[in-house]
Symmetry: C2
Subunit: 191 residues, 2 copies
């Protein structure tokens, strides 16, 4: 059986923002079309565990009137700096993220879905824990907001797997961890 | 005859950087392969005019030992806040960028190639002057550096035209100005 993978599945504007400064994500609706969910259904069938940062969790909670919809489908972890009592079917976790991922991967199950935001992505990239990146680029320049990639991490290379242009203008990119990851100088590129 | 278009043709890392903080762009070489220039030759055949920001111009000059190679092929403009005497076959321009683009577009010729950096891109986006975006996403997370999209601009939508995945991992995205550009709420998406 192949190892469970940690997959970042997220949308950003062409200029790299996942939300406005005041956490508005209503602009994502520009690609909303009946019958098109950009592979999300298929993707969610491959995962059973969900991790999200505490701030992003609270943004979602506000939008969903205090109910956390993902908890009905997945085992959910919220990464938080503070210790916090579980709520809404969610487990709060304030330990080392690499220990959590290792623990989940040791258990049997499907893949792990990471939904952001920027701080948890930075943390996971720093520990080289993301196995796949599925990034949907929205056909919009937001101009300002909260960035997916906060900066301040180490350099690493990726393997590009696919890019799909949808009618709505959404372009979905897929990358996997570069097996020969490390410094660019060390990289021998397969042809 | 169709109007001359202003085309941003640029590379960035997946995390949105066009150079390191100290202007290193040697990491771009991870996609260098004999016989593959990602459509650059074809693209340059469609342009005869080149504009670049003053800071980026100086970065290029340092790399090319004081000679500016683009000046041999194109009519080159460097946008600068200061008045400056022309050099290396380059015209320095410190007026309003919209006046420059209007002037060039009134003259007969091919398309206009914009090569960055972040500040000129921001200026051109603010004035809604970019007709096409050809953005090559390098298969690398740089972690830090100078961003292509600096933020602080207005929101606008784009039309996604194409995405091509190359063997090296470079993914080239193409967008055009959204003809119904403006607020997202005004957007009626063609199906």
């Amino acid at each position: 059986m192949s190892e469970r993978k940690l997959i970042l599945y997220i949308s950003m504007s062409l200029d790299g923002f996942i939300a406005t400064k005041d956490d508005d994500i209503s602009w994502l609706s520009i690609v909303e079309h009946t019958g098109e969910n950009y592979g999300y259904t298929k993707f969610t069938e491959t995962v059973d565990t969900y991790i999200i940062g505490r701030k992003t969790y609270e943004v979602v909670l506000k939008l969903t009137n205090g109910k956390f919809p993902q908890a009905e489908r997945f085992k959910c972890y919220v990464l938080s700096r503070q210790k916090r009592k579980d709520e809404n079917g969610i487990t709060f976790y304030n330990g080392k993220v690499e220990d959590l991922i290792q623990k989940i991967k040791k258990e049997k199950g499907k893949n792990i879905y990471c939904d952001g935001g920027g701080q948890i992505v930075k943390l996971l990239m720093e520990k080289n824990l993301i196995d796949e990146y599925i990034i949907s680029i929205m056909p919009i320049v937001l101009g300002d907001g909260k960035r997916l990639f906060l900066g301040g991490t180490e350099r690493f290379t990726l393997q590009a797997k696919a890019a799909e242009v949808y009618k709505s203008g959404l372009i979905q990119l897929r990358y996997t961890r570069e097996e020969m990851s490390g410094l660019v100088d060390d990289l021998t590129q397969p042809e």
